[in-house]
Symmetry: C2
Subunit: 342 residues, 2 copies
DNA sequence: ATACGCTGTATTAACGATAATACTATGGGC
DNA sequence: GCCCATAGTATTATCGTTAATACAGCGTAT
């Protein structure tokens, strides 16, 4: 903070009114006559006065800020979510306190402490584990408004998210219906205990009567394009007769696509690829990427409404509600062929 | 904020000590004997006490938060910068207050007010215009620590950034030295008055004795991949005999590349492409993208050090210093051929 | 025994705002 | 002329913390 910024006291000294009169005038109180207000407003403008929100927060017992904890920002769809949330909250007079957990539980806990210490009015979070939520449940029990951006209907915590299970089901079913019988799943989240996409993927196999070879589950080293590339390298090296690959996000899918084009595998003729999230880079790839759309505007809008609702409650929180947005499958060239034999 | 969180007063009531004693004990003051401290620490832990940073900020007259204003988050390199800054500041005990200006001067001004009102200790900003900086200069005159993340040596404001002029020079010179004589520039920033890259591009032409046809300057509709795609469509439609395209960022370059591959233009044989920023998607594109590297770790580290230094000054700020990081050219396949006639 | 210093704790005053309450003119009704 | 309502402004308490100062009790030097 710069050394001396104008305070109410300074305006009071300059105009000869009391601090309280100045405060009332600036807040347009009807008790202050027009003439007085004008004098005070002029003085305030001249001194470049801006109310100290720290002091306001203390006395009002609300900060008008919301914490947002993301796993990491390398996934473009997460940054899109982050920006959408920031923009919408800003319109409603809220500031966003960003933090990243780097997919680490201890860092996540630390970030939550930071946000609590700063007395953010509520918290939006992509938890790094969708199963270990005790620390978040504890927060909620103490009536802290928390909204998860991934969904576990049984978590006992409010959530607004894409229905990843349903999305993965659609993607896998699409490939199966196109005649693919050996479909690989490239998904790092499952090994961290976040199995929604894997569940949907396997469910599709079950429901459509196709057995799934567990050797076709690949765990990439991260969520980068490079990770997808090397995951495909690994997969091809195993010679398991794969004809389609389903990836848990588009970055991985673009890595897989890159591997294919550089190694003479035609997409979609030899290998079909479906990604997840619908990032712009997928649409403009050599072979436009089929994907499951992440409805950023809808999820962010609902999540913000939910957390603001919880804040309104001002005390005892209502029972937790989980809202899952049904995602659409976008079929593009990378998976738009029927597969006939290998 | 949840209704009742523990305060010093509550711990005092529980333990029978005064508020001040509790405060001192929690801050490890040597005046408090071990035995007392233990009692107080236990009570604090039991009550889940977390110091109220709002109150602390008020009395300490520093918030340990830094504002970060970005133009938008659709450019992956900006999100990388944002995350790097957040992570490093967090390690030093600072919180990051993000805001986006959406490349609008009025929104930028509004975000600055928000950050000032919240009494962030300093501000890091990608200003939407590199020329209209009066509002930022005014801030600095009032001793508010501001560091720009784009560079204007004459701005009179501290800055740490990539040397975009030098980067564009290298990119253009590389193309010219490869025998290209008709090089298009796809750069939306120039029309907004941010001409660093254009200047470097034109400078390379001048210094290497190549005239530049102003009709080869293309203004894309935004910074998206789609914008690059349609900019290239526009350019090709004009039939100006272009053999190389230099883009002001990799998203645009990937759009250009996409246009080329979908319209039978071979890259780099028919068209060479060079981008800017070095995002991962460029490296893994059909034709790996030549680009100018954005040294995220270095820029963010220096910028953070600078703003923290300015905060240390605690009063009169020293003379502004501008640090420009020299970017490297990364030649990949999209521009690694000598061009021989058209 | 007096003075002195130390240890452990409490009291009081900030920080910059808001909220509740209290005063002081002024004017109107009777 | 007196009472009362009202308009305009001031005073005081409060938010949760830290900082500065005060004070009580006790051991020790003189």
């Amino acid at each position: 903070m710069p050394k001396s910024v104008a305070r109410l006291k300074d305006i009071a000294a300059l105009t000869g009114f009391s601090v309280n009169t100045v405060s009332l005038a600036l807040r347009e109180s009807p008790r202050i006559p027009e003439e007085t207000r004008t004098v005070i407003l002029n003085a305030a403008a001249q001194m470049n006065y801006l109310p100290n929100q720290v002091a306001q927060s203390l006395v009002r017992r609300e900060t008008r800020s919301i914490g947002l904890i993301l796993t990491d920002l390398t996934n473009p769809v997460l940054t899109a979510v982050a920006q959408a949330i920031e923009v919408q909250l800003s319109k409603r007079g809220y500031t966003t306190l960003f933090a990243t957990s780097n997919n680490t539980l201890s860092l996540e806990a630390q970030m939550i402490e930071t946000i609590r210490a700063r007395r953010a009015d509520g918290l939006l979070i992509f938890p790094c584990s969708h199963r270990q939520l005790d620390h978040l449940r504890a927060l909620r029990r103490r009536n802290y408004p928390v909204v998860l951006l991934v969904g576990d209907p049984d978590a006992g915590i409010d959530a607004v998210c894409m229905d990843e299970r349903a999305g993965a089901f659609k993607g896998a079913a699409h490939l199966i219906n196109n005649g693919h019988a050996r479909i690989a799943l490239v998904d790092g989240a499952a090994t961290r205990g976040n199995t929604e996409k894997q569940d949907g993927f396997l469910n599709a196999h079950r429901q459509l009567g196709l057995a799934h070879d567990p050797r076709l589950m690949i765990t990439p080293a991260g969520n980068s394009v490079a990770a997808g590339y090397w995951a495909m390298d690994d997969l091809v090296g195993r010679r398991l007769g794969v004809s389609a690959v389903f990836c848990s996000n588009d970055s991985l899918a673009l890595g897989v696509l890159s591997y294919c084009t550089r190694n003479g595998l035609r997409v979609p003729e030899d290998i079909a690829i479906v990604g997840f999230d619908n990032i712009e880079f997928g649409e403009y790839a050599v072979t436009p990427l089929s994907t499951i759309n992440y409805d950023v505007p809808r999820v962010t809008k609902l999540a913000i409404e939910r957390v603001l609702d919880l804040i309104q409650c001002n005390g005892e929180l209502p029972e937790a509600r989980v809202t899952q947005v049904e995602p659409d499958l976008l079929v593009r060239e990378s998976s738009n062929r029927r597969f006939r034999g290998g």
